[in-house]
């Protein structure tokens, strides 16, 4: 595939992949496992994330995928996108559309992604721009909860509780969702553009502040015993706010989150396209349609409470493998062999 990215497009793409879908829920497992230290653990996790970005930036040219690993990632993205769609459908059914058939919701999400992925890649790349103002709205309306926050919930920080910190670090993985895309899209950045240094730092800071606010707000808003029962804490905070212009603020933001998440699904579709079509294929459009057909079917098997819980309780281990370990392994292997992305 032939397209090029500006720095802004590249970082916007990454930001949406990393924050879409998981932003409303990743705080719960983090706080459950790291208790009062969650905010501190998240700072440590963000430092690790920054280090990882640094590593990827330095060695992205060695992230060459052979035929086998290309299929590994294609299947991984297909399954992860199916899980994301299932979760989106589940959240919609729980919060706003309890009576609407689940297959229809899935069809709508997949239909939009299919359309976006059948046209020029620039459509998916640029569609995220429309999300910038509404994502800001999310943060602004979260601020309404400030009077209800309890500062003492942030303490005590248990610095010497290694197990707790490690468990928190592992569950912070949700915030690193899709970071392997850095390696996929980095070669498409215009040749003369510099990313390391200030641009990378700014991206890291924006992502950190955006996530950190949500962690701190959740920690200060809910009691530790209570958070175990709240799967989507950010939506709950918004639901408990009273405003004059709308009775249920959460519905308004569920749809914002939905559009944000649909763009994430589209970007995963684009990544599939990029990787699959990096080799010449006879029927590229047919492959995209088949990919989306699978996406329309697979989520329907996951959209139940117990299955969603199972996925939530285990997906961070999958993420560790595919977003950190495997890319590092591939980079080291190719570095040793002297293979580079052309």
């Amino acid at each position: 595939m032939n397209f090029s990215l500006s720095k802004a497009q590249f970082f916007l793409l990454l930001f949406i992949i990393q924050t879409g879908v998981v932003y409303i829920s990743f705080q719960t497992p983090l706080i459950i496992y790291s208790q009062h230290s969650a905010w501190f653990v998240f700072i440590l996790a963000s430092l690790f994330h920054y280090g990882l970005l640094f590593f990827f930036e330095r060695y992205y040219q060695s992230f060459f995928l052979n035929g086998f690993f290309r299929w590994v990632y294609l299947i991984y993205w297909l399954l992860i996108t199916a899980v994301l769609i299932a979760y989106m459908g589940y959240v919609l059914a729980s919060w706003v559309l309890p009576q609407t058939p689940e297959w229809l919701v899935v069809m709508l999400i997949v239909g939009l992604s299919l359309y976006a992925n059948l046209v020029r890649p620039e459509t998916v790349i640029n569609i995220g721009v429309m999300l910038i103002p509404i994502i800001f709205l999310f943060v602004i309306f979260l601020m309404l909860a400030v009077p209800d926050l309890t500062w003492s919930n942030l303490f005590p920080v248990e610095w010497n509780h290694t197990k707790q910190i490690m468990a928190g670090m592992i569950h912070s993985m949700y915030a690193f969702f899709g970071i392997e895309m850095y390696l996929i899209y980095r070669p498409f950045l215009k040749q003369d553009l510099q990313v390391k240094g200030k641009p990378l730092l700014i991206y890291q800071l924006v992502l950190f502040i955006f996530y950190f606010l949500s962690v701190v707000f959740t920690q200060m808003f809910f009691a530790l015993e209570e958070i175990q029962l709240i799967p989507e804490p950010i939506m709950y905070i918004l639901k408990s706010q009273e405003v004059n212009f709308v009775k249920r603020l959460d519905i308004f933001f569920i749809y914002i989150w939905l559009s944000w998440s649909i763009v994430t699904v589209m970007i995963y579709g684009l990544s599939f396209r990029v990787l699959y079509l990096s080799k010449k294929r006879k029927h590229p459009k047919r492959s995209i349609v088949i990919y989306h057909l699978l996406l329309a079917i697979l989520p329907l098997f996951v959209m139940q409470f117990q299955r969603i819980e199972f996925v939530k309780n285990s997906i961070h281990y999958v993420l560790i493998v595919f977003t950190i370990l495997l890319p590092m392994m591939i980079i080291c292997w190719n570095k040793w062999r002297g293979k580079r992305v052309s």
Binding site: H36, T100, L104, T150, A223, L229, Q241, R248
Partner: protein
């Protein structure tokens, strides 16, 4: 081809709303709910406006759970009960002797139910409190919501909604104090009668009077728009009332972990709102009045702390403070530790204003 696809998608998008469409014209929009009874034998009351008759209808039903009560109530109305506009829940003082969360779960679990609503405890059965709103032109729930908000502004009721109550119910480190309402003698009005003290999820059976409730809110450093205290000043054989309004509170707690003692220092700045004797510009009178208020408040602080500890009701959130800043002193069975703490209040009052008269 694409255009057809887009049109198809768009029409599907429009369809999506149909299954979850809920129109107010097809629902009995309840604004006030009352709960009596206990698990297995609840009685519920639902008040909703009848626009044709310009009054409120009350539906009564029995059931094994709050949700079951609502199902039973649905059998008695011409349009399904809808709680999305609910503004107040009233619970009888007998019902809250059982864990409060038992009756609140449905409000937290169902996203259609609002959680930024008021909750209060009634003296005796809920029924007469619901029925007194029957002839009101406005919503029944709105009446109680306004009533509680104005009492909150007078620093008698703490500022709470269902979400904050729910959050505290799950915490060992802080207890709730819910508004307590009685009926007036003519049974036509609700009267703010103080706050009910909870220990964990259960009502302790103790109610603080409005004056004690105000003191408790000052101890919590939560004065609202108005926080007024009145005392009698005796001078030269004459008695003269003084009313002071709290302007600022500065609070400092010093914890001695070994002695399990907390020194609670309060600096309270007040404005004199009523003092017909006047002449506050005279230093001896000013100092005497200031001292009187200070002594009275000191005694009230001590009394309220004694009641709170006696009932193992940590409404001040001392547990939260200890857990956060003195974790070694904090233990899981917090209520027992709390009752044995040595809480030593020390109040210093400063008159900083005297109104527009000297």
């Amino acid at each position: 081809m694409y255009r057809k696809g887009i049109m198809l998608l768009f029409s599907m998008l429009l369809l999506a709303g149909c299954w979850d469409e809920r129109l107010y014209k097809n629902a009995s929009v309840v604004t006030l709910v009352g709960v009596d009874g206990y698990v297995g034998a609840y009685k519920g009351y639902y008040a909703y406006p009848n626009t044709a008759a310009q009054q409120n209808e009350v539906i009564e039903a029995d059931g094994i759970s709050p949700r079951d009560v609502r199902n039973q109530a649905n059998l008695k109305v011409e349009q399904t009960i809808d709680l999305s506009e609910l503004s107040t829940i009233l619970v009888s003082d007998q019902t809250v002797r059982e864990p409060l969360y038992d009756i609140l779960d449905i409000y937290f679990r169902n996203p259609q139910n609002p959680i930024s609503i008021k909750i209060a405890v009634t003296e005796g059965d809920v029924k007469p409190f619901i029925e007194l709103t029957k002839d009101l032109a406005g919503g029944s729930g709105d009446y109680y919501e306004r009533f509680m908000e104005s009492t909150e502004e007078n620093t008698i009721f703490p500022k709470l909604d269902l979400q904050t109550v729910g959050s505290m119910l799950f915490e060992q480190t802080i207890d709730i104090a819910l508004p307590y309402i009685q009926l007036s003698e003519d049974k036509k009005h609700a009267v703010a009668a103080g706050v009910t003290l909870f220990s964990g999820q259960r009502f302790t059976g103790t109610v603080l009077t409005p004056k004690q409730s105000l003191t408790m809110l000052l101890l919590m450093n939560q004065p609202s728009k108005q926080a007024r205290m009145s005392y009698m000043w005796k001078h030269d054989g004459k008695a003269m009332p003084i009313t002071a309004e709290v302007i600022h509170i500065k609070r400092q707690w010093t914890v001695n972990e070994e002695l399990k003692r907390i020194d609670m220092d309060y600096l309270i700045e007040v404005e004199i709102e009523e003092f017909a004797h006047d002449h506050l510009y005279k230093d001896p009178i000013f100092k005497e009045v200031q001292q009187l208020i200070q002594n009275q408040m000191q005694a009230e602080f001590e009394e309220v702390l004694r009641i709170l500890q006696g009932q193992q009701s940590d409404t001040l959130g001392i547990g939260r403070y200890i857990r956060a800043y003195h974790p070694k002193m904090f233990q899981k069975d917090w209520h027992t530790i709390y009752a044995s703490l040595q809480l030593v209040p020390s109040v210093q009052v400063k008159i900083i204003r005297t109104g527009v008269l000297r």
